[in-house]
Every structure is written in C-alpha cells, then in structure tokens.
C-alpha cells in the first residue's frame, strides 16, 4: 500500500507541472495585463506603468515569467499579488481558514443528513416517505444556488432573525469568547443551508440507489432467510457494501473544499477564497490565480488518492499491489 501511495504521489508531480504551465499560458492568452487598468487613468504616465511591469517581470516573455514563478515556487514563494500589494501566501492564508470552516461545516451537515435520509428512502422504497424525500431532493438539485441564497437573504432581511451575509458582526471585538462563537455560528447558517441543499440532494439519491442495488443481492436474501433481524441486515450487511460509490464521491468533494463554495461565498459576503479569486481572475492578478489553481489541483489529486485508499480499506475485494 505504501508503495502504491508513493507511486501516486510521484505521478502527481509532472501532472501538477503540466497543469500549472497550461494555466499560466491560458491566463496570459487574455489580452493585456493587470496594469492595463491604469492605462486609462490620466494620472499615470506610460513610463510609470512600464516601471510597474518591470518591477513584477511582466515585461519578459510569458515562458520566462513561468520559469521565474516556478523557481520561486521551489523556495515556497508563491509570488506577489499586484492587486493587494501583499505576498500571495499571506492573502490566501488569511482567507483559507474561512473557506475551510464553511466547507467543512457544510460537508458535515450534508453527510449527516443525506446518509440517513438515503437509507430511510431506500428501505421505504416507493412509500410516502421515499416520495417526499425525492421531492425535497429534486427541489434541492434544481434550485440554483445563487437564487436560493438570495431568497434566504431576503427572508433574513424580512424577519431579522439571521444576519445578512458576512462572517462576523461589526461589534465582534466587543463580544465575549462564547459570544464570538455564537456570532460566527449565526452567520454561517445561511451559506451552509445553501451549499448543503444541492449537495445533500445528490448524495441522498446516490445513497438510496446504491443501497437499493445491494438490497437486491442474493446474500441479503440469504441473510434474511437465516432469520437475521431486519436492522441487522440493513445496517450490518447491506450498508457496508453500499458505501463504495459514496467514498468516490467523498474524494471528489474533497477537491471542492476550497472552490466549491465560491458562488455562495460571493453572494453571502463570506470572506473566503471565492470572491478573492473571482476578483483576481478578472483583474489578471496572475500569481494569485496560479496559487489558487495549484491548491485546487493538489486537492483534486489528494482527494482521489484518499478515496482510492479508503476504498481499499473499506472493501477487502479491492487491492492495488
């Protein structure tokens, strides 16, 4: 197993390299660069703008810029953001925790709700409960996230129960420790509901379908024929075998930890990476974009690896050696 993991990590290296090169070239395909917006400001002379460009090596050929970036990357220097006048590392570090908090909380709620509901729906196939959950799932799947978020914000503004976006209240600093936790908890409710609504729906359907598949297997019939109690059949025998597709989904969701919530973050003013990166892409703040692409890429590869390893661990039939 260790061998397998090491091999996967080795393969990941050239993959990341190619990924970063393609991203870098793609960003540079767009016309102009970050300092172009200054060109339309009468108070900036062309010399000043050229000066800026040479300060950040933007006057060199694209491929030279790439190697320059790569060289710094080996020293764990992600470059400097022109947009925020600050090293990329520091900006991302500041926002990363916020995004992770939101992603982990919503991931947690998605799974904790979707799995039991999927099981209940499968066990009660075609009964009222199943149909009802299906309805909820389809609504959750079809409602666009941004629209749902706006609806909830509207609801919040009408009732005044929940805060309107953001992560902390303006008086956050004057709160006690528990007051602060409570304050963040209040702010996280709306974005969590929005993210969970669509993710939950898909997951619940997968759980239901995969459990139904297993329940049709002959060994379930055998278990029942042996007179095992029904919940033992379902939770002990069927569920364990139905979990494989979910682990694959888990690995996939892992890669979305940092980017999956972007749209919701933007609408709910959550100070995460989403809005940061949208602004960075639009302003052609290349090093910031590169750093985020790199993180997304690493997470995707890591997520796949984790789910493959988990699969082998859960299902003894799977062997990699």
């Amino acid at each position: 197993m260790i061998n397998y993991i090491l091999r996967r990590i080795l393969i990941a290296m050239p993959l990341l390299l190619v990924m970063s090169l393609v991203t870098f070239l793609a960003i540079n395909l767009a016309p102009g660069n970050f300092f172009d917006s200054l060109r339309l400001d009468p108070q900036f002379s062309e010399e000043t703008i050229k000066h800026y460009e040479s300060l950040y090596h933007l006057d060199k050929p694209v491929i030279a810029q790439y190697f320059y970036w790569l060289k710094n990357l080996l020293k764990l220097d992600f470059g400097y953001s022109f947009f925020y006048n600050c090293p990329v590392k520091k900006i991302i570090a500041g926002r990363l925790l916020n995004t992770l908090l939101l992603s982990v909380v919503s991931l947690f709620f998605t799974w904790i709700i979707a799995i039991p509901l999927g099981i209940i729906a499968a066990v009660n196939r075609n009964k009222f409960v199943d149909r009802f959950f299906s309805l909820i799932s389809f609504v959750g799947l079809s409602i666009p996230g941004f629209f749902f978020a706006l609806l909830l914000l509207y609801f919040a503004s009408q009732t005044g129960i929940l805060p309107l976006g953001g992560m902390r209240s303006a008086n956050f600093d004057s709160l006690s420790f528990f007051g602060r936790i409570f304050d963040i908890a209040k702010h996280i409710i709306i974005p969590t509901i929005v993210i969970s609504a669509s993710a939950f729906a898909g997951l619940q359907r997968i759980m239901r379908g995969s459990l139904l598949d297993v329940l049709r297997q002959q060994y379930i019939l055998t278990a029942r024929a042996k007179g095992l109690p029904e919940n033992k059949v379902i939770y002990f025998h069927a569920l364990r075998n139905a979990i494989n597709p979910l682990i694959t989904v888990f690995g996939y969701e892992f890669s979305g930890l940092l980017s999956g919530a972007a749209l919701t973050e933007i609408i709910c003013s959550w100070p995460g990476l989403g809005s940061l990166l949208l602004a960075a892409v639009r302003a052609q703040d290349i090093y910031l974009v590169m750093a985020s692409m790199l993180m997304g890429g690493i997470l995707l590869l890591a997520g796949n690896l984790v789910s493959d390893v988990l699969l082998a661990w859960v299902d003894p039939r799977i062997r990699y050696d």
Binding site: D36, Q43, C86
Partner: protein
C-alpha cells in the same frame, strides 16, 4: 480623473462615501472631554459610523494607492499641506497653516503647523515634507502617479528647508493647480526611511501590514483590518484640529467599514439598520423613499455627480506599421471623421429616456465636458444637441448618408453600408443599457450597429494599444480641476481616446485645445484661466470628439443619527468628518 471600471457608482471615490452603521453596540463611551463652552453642555464625543464598501483596500500606502477603495481609507489616515473644502471647493490650509508666493508664482513658501504629531508621538516637521517629495515621489525606483502630476515639462519641483516648520517649493514653470496638488499626503520620514534605503518601499505598507505600524497625522488611525470583512479606524486622540469652541476633533470614536461583495447586500444591510450610509442607484430610489420615516434615514440628492458616460468614435488616422493600413477600416474612418456624422448621432441620443429608464429620473443630461457640480470651471453655455431623429436624418442626408437601395440601411457616397461595432465594458450594466437605447435609435436612422460588451482589460487594450475599434461607450470620473484631465484632451495624451499620442495635432481645433491646456496650467489669474477652459468646453461640444450622455445624480441615504452633516456632490456625506457628531441616543 480615472476611468470607471464598474458602474456609475456615485461619489464612491471621495474620501468617505460608503457609510453604514451598526445598530445597538454595547460599548458605552463616557465623556472623553468636556466642551469648554459653558452654554454647550452636549457631549459630542463617542459613537461610531458604520459604512460598507464593495471592495477591499489594496494597500495602506498612499503613494502607491491606485484606486478608490484604497484612497477612501488612506485619505482619512493621512493629510496633505492643503485640502479642498467639500462645500465651497476652495483650497484651505491643512498641515500648512499659511503660505505665500513670490516671483511670478514660481516660489511658494509654506508655513507648517508646529502642533502636529504622528500617531506614534513623533512631531511632524519640514523634513517629512521634503522626504515625501524628494525620496518617495521623485524616487526613480518607486513607480507612482504623483510623480506624473508633479513633473512639469520633464522638470521636478525643488524643495528647500528653511527651518523645521517652513518649506519652500521652487517650481520650474508656473503651475496653476499647484495648491490643489499640495493635498498630496505627507508620510513620516522616521518610519519609512529604512525601507526606502533598502529599496523596499514599493512593498511597504501593503495590506498585510500590522495596523499599528501605519503612522499618519489624520483624524483617524487604522485599528484593524480583516480581509474581506471589515476595516476599523479609531479616533486619533492627538489630532491637531480643534473646533471653533476649542474642542479637540474628531468627535466620533470609530469608523467601521464593512466589506460586502455587492451593492445589493449593501442595500439590505442599510435597510436592516446595520450600516449608516448607502449610495443610491437610480433604481433604488422608489424602494427606499417610502421607508425614510419608518427606517429613520434621509435621502439627500446633492446634484449631478462627476462620473461621465460618453460615446466616442475612432478617429485614429495614423498607419499601423505592421499592416501598413489604418487601424480602423478606412471607410468607417471617413464617416467618423465627418463632423456632420457625429452631430447627427448626438441628435439621436435620447438623454431624457436614459435618465428615465436607467436612473428613475435621477440623472442629468450632460452637454459640457465638466460636471455641473464642478463649480468654478463649469461652462453651461456650450452647444446642446436635443433629441430629434428627423433632424438627425436631415443632417445625415445633407452629408451624403442616405438609403440609396431602399433596403433600410443607409449608405455613404461610395455606396458603403453604414455598419459599425459598438463596445462597452461588461462590468457596467448601466453602460450596457445606455448602449441598448442608443443602438435602437441609431438603427432607426438606418445604421447597422453591432453591440458587444467586453471585459474591461480587453476594452482598455483596444483603446490604448491595438486601436481596433469603431465606437465605444465608456466613462471618466471627473473632478474640479480641468488640468488633471490633460491626458484626455491634449492631442499627445494617451487617453486622447479618439486618436491618442499624436505627434502633432491632427486638426485645427485640437491644436487650439493643446494651446488652451498649455496656457491654462500657467495662468495664475483665475478669471483668465476660466475663460480659457470655457473656450475648451465650447470647442468640445462643437467638435464632438466625445458625445456625452448623462450624469447620474449624486444621491445617498444617511441614517438620522448625525449632527453637523453638510452633504455636497463633491464631498459626499462625510467630507467634514471630524466635525460630525452622533446624537446622544445613537451612541449606545
């Protein structure tokens, strides 16, 4: 002046426009000091303003600051030798208490205040002024736009320290906007010297700096910056300015900027009472007006704002060295160069309808190159073009543009069908809507107009580098000093959009405009100076290199919790920030 990349967002770039408040804050502020005046027993101190902004500051370094989200913050933390009064638009003393001018306006002696302290307790002196100019602004290793303003005909100002509180500026030539330019923020020498010596100034005071390390002289100092969330500014207890009654200013304890992702969240938060200020778009007016009483705020309409929107045609007749042809199509150029063609189009712009549809009637038709709110230099007596499609058709016909083959599209003398591309930037829904209205009217004149909204940087590279465009709708943020728009109006300017960077003026009128700007900057007699800029505004309205559309109204809503509020279109709601105080019942 600056191109607006987003929308006609009112006066966002003036120091403090995006204000909001927080409802019930639990901290109680007791009197920090008691007014000396016996009959004025109200305690004016304490409380907070909560504002919202849609973008993070990008730096806390005023020399490197390039955009309004940054200057809104640095404008409160730092001060210049002079400042512009938000109400009268006059120049008034700030860090300099007085000045005198000698020898034909070339030598200016500033007497600095001797009671100003940096927030770390060190005294502000003439050395800081000299450092700011000589070692920051004129430092060849530090790219900054202030240098471009303070370099006249390639020559820099010379600074001479006379004593600790007296500085002399020696100008290479006369420079009329000099005093206004002296609002340039002064930075502390003792703090920044080291980073300049190590050649790191371009990376100093970025957004990752600890708030306590940002040292200014202004009424507020930075307390906290949480990226993507908020900026907290705290009253500077050592601020030098005193009220008429002798109270040490400012009154308000704290300013909080909430960073929201879009204007709609901002609006919701304002209605919710969380923020104290909201800059209205025309479409917000019907929503907010009925709630004025119940939500305890007042909507102020202060008149036309400064951000223009205009239509410009490519008139660049220079030859592209690569293709050996003109940048735009030769036939199209011949139409755009035709003044009658541009006049007809000016008559086809339904400004009234644009104001009605986009701004709910809260906008102003713009005819002159200066905003009506810019005061002294605004010239209202320029050529106006009322909306009249029949007249426009007649002008086109007389100039040889009419439908010869009866297919609904007009042709020029050589039989070429009038068809061109119209671009604007995709970030601005207002401009896209304006383009829609204009396009419809141009089509009814028989022109085929292909409209496309482009990403801002793409548009900029077309305007400044590749020149492959026909017509563009874009805007500039205006100001009160016409000279600061020189880069747009001078024929050699890179922002002379219709034909940038000309070696010598292509037309007679452009030659005259160049003369006006060269004379205007050296004319110290205000009356003569105004005559020059009046003439320039008339020329622009006659020649129509840019065809103006509308200016949005500068209109904003402020919670009724402040005293001493004097809203103006130039200064916004809080230009006299340090004198504003909060009513007692809103302090808790």
């Amino acid at each position: 002046m600056k191109i607006q990349s987003k929308q006609l967002n009112k006066n966002k770039f003036y120091a403090l426009s995006i204000l909001k408040k927080l409802p019930l804050i639990t901290v109680v502020f007791l009197f920090l000091s008691i007014p000396l005046d016996a009959d004025n027993q109200i305690n004016q101190y304490g409380g907070q303003i909560v504002l919202a902004t849609t973008s993070d500051p990008r730096s806390f370094n005023p020399i490197l600051a390039k955009e309004t989200s940054t200057t809104a913050i640095t404008g409160i933390i730092f001060e210049g030798l002079t400042r512009t009064n938000g109400e009268t638009l006059e120049i008034e003393p700030n860090l300099a208490k007085s000045w005198e001018v000698k020898q034909d306006g070339l030598n200016w002696v500033f007497h600095l205040r001797d009671d100003v302290f940096w927030t770390n307790g060190k005294k502000f002196t003439a050395d800081d002024v000299i450092f700011t100019f000589n070692e920051l602004i004129y430092n060849p290793n530090i790219p900054n736009s202030s240098r471009d303003i303070f370099t006249i005909e390639g020559k820099e100002f010379k600074l001479k320290k006379i004593d600790d509180y007296t500085v002399e500026f020696i100008l290479p030539v006369k420079f009329a906007p000099f005093l206004r330019g002296m609002s340039q923020e002064i930075l502390p020498k003792h703090i920044l010297e080291k980073s300049v010596r190590e050649n790191k100034f371009s990376f100093t005071w970025g957004t990752d700096t600890l708030p306590k390390d940002i040292i200014g002289t202004g009424p507020y100092k930075l307390k906290l910056y949480q990226p993507g969330e908020r900026i907290v500014l705290e009253r500077n207890p050592k601020y030098w300015r005193k009220s008429k009654e002798g109270n040490r200013l400012p009154y308000i304890e704290r300013i909080i900027y909430l960073i929201v992702q879009n204007q709609d969240t901002d609006l919701l938060k304002f209605q919710d009472g969380e923020v104290d200020y909201y800059g209205l778009r025309g479409s917000d007016y019907p929503l907010l007006k009925p709630k004025e009483k119940s939500n305890n705020f007042t909507i102020y309409d202060t008149g036309a704002s400064f951000g223009s929107n205009f239509l410009v045609f490519n008139q660049n007749t220079s030859i592209n060295p690569k293709t050996k042809k003109t940048y735009a199509d030769k036939n199209k150029l011949s139409w755009f160069l035709n003044k009658d063609f541009r006049r007809a189009i000016a008559h086809a712009i339904d400004k009234e309808k644009i104001v009605e549809i986009l701004m709910n009637g809260l906008g102003y038709e713009q005819d002159s190159a200066m905003s009506p709110s810019s005061g002294y230099f605004y010239n209202p007596s320029v050529s106006k073009y009322e909306y009249d499609l029949d007249n426009a058709r007649q002008i086109l016909k007389n100039a040889g543009f009419f439908d010869r083959d009866k297919d609904g599209i007009i042709e020029d003398k050589n039989g070429n069908k009038i068809e061109f591309n119209l671009y604007t930037n995709s970030g601005s829904t207002e401009r896209i809507q304006i383009a829609g209205i204009i396009r419809k009217d141009l089509q009814s004149l028989g022109m085929k107009v292909n409209f496309m909204a482009l990403e801002f940087n793409n548009l900029v590279s077309k305007l400044t580098a590749t020149f492959d465009w026909d017509a563009i709708i874009i805007g500039l943020t205006g100001g009160i000093e016409p000279h600061f728009g020189k880069n747009v109006w001078d024929s050699s300017g890179q922002l002379h959009m219709w034909y940038p960077k000309q070696d010598k003026p292509a037309t007679e009128w452009e030659k005259r405009v160049d003369e006006i700007f060269n004379q205007g900057v050296q004319e110290l007699n205000e009356k003569k100076r105004k005559l020059l800029y009046d003439e320039w505004q008339v020329i622009i309205s006659d020649e129509l290199p840019v065809i103006y559309t509308v200016l949005p109204a500068s209109i904003f809503a402020v919670r009724n919790k402040f005293e001493n509020l004097k809203p103006t279109p130039y200064g916004g709601a809080f230009h006299n920030l340090e004198e504003i105080y909060i009513k007692e019942k809103f302090k808790k």
